[in-house]
Amino acid sequence: MKTLEPILAEHPFFKGLKPEYLQLVTGCASNVRFDTGVYMFREGEEATRFYLLRQGKVALEVFAAQRGPITIETIEAGEVMGWSWLFPPYQWHLSGRVIEPTRAIALDGTCLRAKGEADHDLGYELMKRVAVIMMDRLQATRIRLLDIYSKSPGGKVSYPSR
């Protein structure tokens, strides 16, 4: 039976991981698929897994009273979704609704987290990789906050006094 190991080894998120760690990770991995409209996780639920999307599109949503669900961001093929499994309180901050049929590799976050606590080298490798994802998403979010396409990006212009 073919394992997911070669697929994981190729993915940018796991690239460069020591072979024994990669085996360990593969042990925590499984193929999953979701149909359009399904919620993969909901805000507040326990975050036990994270996903490498192989195909499809997932909308990260927040629910606003009277408005319904608002899409904050979409995660697409090739991207990593979920970091709440690594940080207390280990709960999803947003809901994830599938908007295009999605195939992904699900990783047992709870298990990996425990292994990371036991072996700090593994923990460091996981932390480094998750940090990069957070940094990219944060930077992208900051650019969106600037509202660059509006008439006055970043707010109205005020001239300096000198």
């Binding site: 008439k151 006055s152 990006p153 212009v157 001239y159 300096p160 000198r162």
Partner: protein, 394 residues
């Protein structure tokens, strides 16, 4: 005695008494003579018809933010340096209508402007100014679209240059390699020789001009002016005068690697410092002989039936200059001063192949707060934090 016709590079002597003949020769050839004259306590450039209208017997004392006229103890015609005007006023008109438009149904009719271009003769053009004219030639006639307004005036100009007999308080042409000796680009070049203590047999003080022929037009003009061949001694004397001028510059600027120096230091704290003094009054750009920026204004009359497009001198120091919707790109004083200085001394090389500065010192004299471009360069050069320095400190 019939004189053999003069050749380019010939040098002759013209007596002071005969200088008016130069005006006559130019006017009879249809030139409007423009030269220095005194207006409101400054030596400016305006149309002249007689020698007496020149600033005879005057000199100027210049320093940062200071300009004063003083009487000399002789009757020199060119005993001063440069004032607030430059020749760009005549070659690159400060205000110019480009066209008119008249409303017609749903559209409009355009009426191009037919200009009368005067044939002008400039008297008293200094070496720095010749270089400034050459610099503007590159801007307007060689960098892409030709400015036909400039070109038509420039092609008909007659230039009577003057070798400076004294250096001004803010002059630094030697640093910029633009003078004081007039090298090229003139029809006639004069060096005024005057010694009130010496005299000729008639009792008049020694006062004459060593005149160099620059072009055939210059030679033609001299045919109508009494002159005699200049002796070796005369020529040597005129060269000594200019050499002496070169020794007495009021300012100097080290231009070694200046383009890269400024490009490297766009974030230098000195820009903040000069911004505390600069008023963005734009005097420097108005008096600078190479500044060329203009704006285009579309104006309508009250009836709304008639519109005109005008071109006017503009300055990078105004808030409007860099305005695009949302705001000005260069809003702070610091950015605008930096733009002017780095354009003049650095980017100009990339754009036109030379420095934009000719060392005339006008910007220093006419700055109301006396900002000195040579001092600003010095400050940046001396306080540059180079990687080499920091490595040494470790």
């Amino acid at each position: 005695m019939t004189k053999a016709s003069l050749q380019v590079k010939d040098k002759v002597i013209v007596e002071y008494e005969d200088f008016q003949r130069l005006f006559v020769a130019l006017m009879s050839k249809g030139y409007q003579v423009v030269g220095p004259t005194i207006r409101e306590n400054a030596i400016v450039y305006d149309t002249l018809t007689r020698v007496a209208e020149l600033p005879v017997g005057y000199t100027d004392e210049q320093d940062g933010g200071t300009y004063r006229l003083k009487k000399r103890d002789d009757q020199a015609l060119f005993g001063y340096v440069v004032g607030p005007h430059s020749w760009k006023k005549f070659l690159h008109p400060p205000v110019l209508r480009l066209w008119e438009a008249r409303r017609e149904g749903k559209g409009f009719e355009l009426v191009p402007e037919k200009q009368e271009v005067p044939k002008m003769a400039f008297i008293g053009v200094r070496s720095c100014e010749l270089h400034a004219i050459a610099i503007q030639d590159k801007v307007f006639m060689r960098s892409g679209f030709t400015d036909t307004t400039y070109q038509s005036r420039r092609n008909n100009v007659c230039i009577v240059a003057v070798n400076c007999g004294q250096a001004g308080g803010t002059c630094f042409c030697t640093s910029m390699h633009t003078g004081p000796k007039v090298e090229a680009g003139f029809d006639l070049a004069l060096t005024e020789v005057l010694d009130p203590n010496q005299g000729d047999h008639k009792g008049s003080p020694l006062h004459y001009f060593v005149v160099e022929v620059g072009t055939e037009l210059g030679a033609e003009l001299l045919q109508d002016i009494p002159h005699r061949e200049a002796s070796k001694d005369d020529i040597q004397l005129s060269e000594n005068i200019v050499a002496n001028t070169a020794e007495h510059m009021g300012r100097n600027m080290d231009t070694t690697g200046i383009k890269d120096l400024l490009y490297r230091n766009l974030e230098h704290p000195r820009w903040e410092e000069v911004a505390t003094r600069c008023l963005t009054c734009s005097n420097c750009t108005m008096v600078c002989p190479t500044c060329f920026c203009t704006t285009v204004e579309d104006v309508t009359d009250l009836s709304g039936e008639h519109a005109e497009r005008w071109r006017k001198w503009d300055s990078c120091f105004t808030m409007d200059f860099s305005y695009i919707y949302g705001g000005s790109i260069r809003a702070s004083t610091k950015s605008r001063y930096r733009q002017w200085m780095t354009h003049k001394l650095a980017s100009w090389f990339d754009q036109f192949g030379t420095s934009g500065c000719v060392g005339c010192g006008r910007c220093i004299t006419w700055c109301p707060v006396g900002i000195d471009i040579t001092e600003e360069v010095r400050a940046i050069r001396e306080s540059e934090i180079t990687p080499a320095k920091t490595a040494k400190e470790q």
